[in-house]
Amino acid sequence: MVSALLELEGLRVSVPYEGGLRRVVHRVDLSVAAGESVGLVGESGAGKSMTARTVVRLLPPGATVEGSVRFDGREVLAMSPSELRAHRAADAAMIFQDPRAHTNPLRTVGDYLTEGMRLNQRLPKRASQERACDLLGAVGVGSPRARLSQYPHELSSGLLQRVMIAAALSAEPRLLLADEPTTALDVTTQAEVVAILSDLRERLGLAMLFITHDLDLAAAICDRTAVMYAGSIVEVQGSGELHDHARHPYTEGLVAARPSVDTTLRRLPVIPGRPTAAFEAPPGCAFAPRCRHALAHCTAERPVLAPLGRAMVACLRAAELHPQQPADDEETDRG
């Protein structure tokens, strides 16, 4: 049994807000194996971004983290400042949603790309520039040499996002944390970036934690998908199976809400109510107020992630609502 590259166990995160603390991640247990791509899906406020940030401890000042974040067996939350820096520099790299905000407008693209190599890996300038050109080529950016002397404002968002990916790769990380990297891009560019990420993953054997609110996107690029709601993971399954056989009422709602060309509907189905964050969640199951399957005991007892077939579901009525059939086992055996 290969131990996972990344293991999140009992993770809880609170962030400062107006003098106090607010819980944004209630409880997360998740693992990512080497070379595996895991999607983290949920609406705004679900806590996905915070979860990913704990992997490199990139949290807002004053935030508290409890639980365990183990990377290759080492506890990230217990690392000293220099260990943490080394971890950030070499083990895991993060790419963000808005490439323009995350690049220094006063420094050239070349500077941005080679910075990590020059400061962390102590590569000489020439060598790092060569590598930067290679990386730009790998992400599909044309005329790389010219790009090095350009400034971020001269590049389109799509191009800049590729540059950010290239920079993340320059450290040769083993895990890529992608925080909604395509949300700010138009659909065509989205597809291109996704293609690049898939390609790179295959070639480099990168593990990836891909955050998005788009279930279909996660299905396209991730081996497994975890669905988050109100600061907890409510379901984890192989991406394809999640789409076809969602086991949690929230996931079902998400899948149903996505319009498809194949079916005809007279009205788009919606999940009633609005998404809640962890600190707003009522006692018991956080989704209960919006769930059409909710019963009395759902508001009393908080469900925990438990296996159901090949999936993990956090729903008190999951087994009851999705009885296991022999046919199901056969299907899942194929995966």
């Binding site: 009205r267 189905p269 919606v270 009633p272 059409r292």
Partner: protein
């Protein structure tokens, strides 16, 4: 597949907190203290004639540089005049001048800015240029030129500064007005047939109220400093009337003789007034990025 649910979303009642408590929160404890200080100074200025202080012009050469006592709570100056009385009466001119400057600069500045923003075109370009040009003329210099031309005096100084400070209010207002005019409510009101004057007067200007007031408070502080400086130079209030700037000047020679009280007390009051107005102005304006250019 989940069922369709089109039930209307329940919106809670919108509670609008009263203006006073919102103001209180905005100002914070420091801002409230500053407001109290301002109020105190104004009260002293207005009530000067009835306050139990000596006559500020009473020359009494037997008590030159008298130390603090019952008759002279803050001591006396080189002519035996009561320092406290001079400070109290000095508040009147010190606060009145800037008030006139601020009111005039605000009235003219807001009017020009709103009309310029509304009309756009060449009118706006001209007004912007005028604002920029006037902004480039430091208030004191303008006052000095005016003093040279029409003769020094309180009226001349106040008039010159009123003109010099127009762009301080004008530019901020114009920027804000341009922003407001892009908002849908303006177009909606026009479609409803409201006249431009009505729209500006009843909606546009009140919406800009916060920044105008904040800028006006800031202007008051600057005007206070400039007028006090002019009085210090002897080009503002005439020498006979007590005025904080003038008191500082009068006391300067005394410092060299070892009696700094007059100048320092008057100076402290100026600092207090200006600091209080700046604090209130900043709190009202919120997190204003003061260094960003506005045009």
């Amino acid at each position: 597949m989940s069922g369709v649910d089109l039930s209307p979303v329940e919106a809670g009642p919108i509670a609008k907190s009263p203006t006073w408590s919102r103001l209180r929160r905005r100002l914070g404890p420091l801002g409230l203290a500053a407001l109290a200080a301002i109020g105190g100074l104004w009260l002293v200025a207005l009530l000067a004639p009835v306050l139990p202080v000596a006559d500020p012009t009473d020359v009494d050469l037997t008590s030159t540089f008298a130390p603090p006592s019952a008759g002279h709570p803050l001591g006396a100056d080189s002519n035996g005049r009561d320092i406290l009385a001079r400070l109290v009466w000095g508040a009147r001119t010190a606060l009145l001048g800037p008030l006139v400057v601020t009111v005039v600069a605000t009235a003219v500045g807001v009017l020009l800015a709103v009309v310029a923003a509304w009309r756009g075109g060449w009118f706006d370009s001209v007004i912007s240029r005028v604002f920029d040009l006037l902004f480039g003329f430091p208030g004191i210099l303008l006052a000095l030129v005016v003093a040279a031309v029409v003769g020094a005096g309180f009226g001349a100084a106040v008039a010159a500064l009123s003109v010099a400070f127009i762009p301080y209010i004008g530019r901020v207002t114009r920027a804000g007005a341009l922003q407001q005019l892009r908002l849908p409510y303006v177009a909606a009101l026009r479609v409803l047939g409201q006249s431009p004057t009505a729209i500006c007067a009843r909606h546009l200007v009140p919406n800009l109220g916060a920044i105008i007031v904040a800028q006006a408070a800031l202007t008051f502080g600057y005007a206070l400093v400039d007028l006090a400086a002019l009085s210090y130079l002897g080009l503002g209030v005439d020498q006979a009337t007590p005025d904080w700037g003038g008191i500082v000047a009068a006391g300067q020679a005394d410092i060299l003789s070892g009696y700094p009280q007059q100048s320092l007390y008057a100076g402290a009051l100026i600092v207090l007034a200006v600091a209080a107005f700046s604090i209130v102005a900043e709190r009202l304006a919120g997190r204003a990025h003061a260094w960003r250019r506005l045009w």
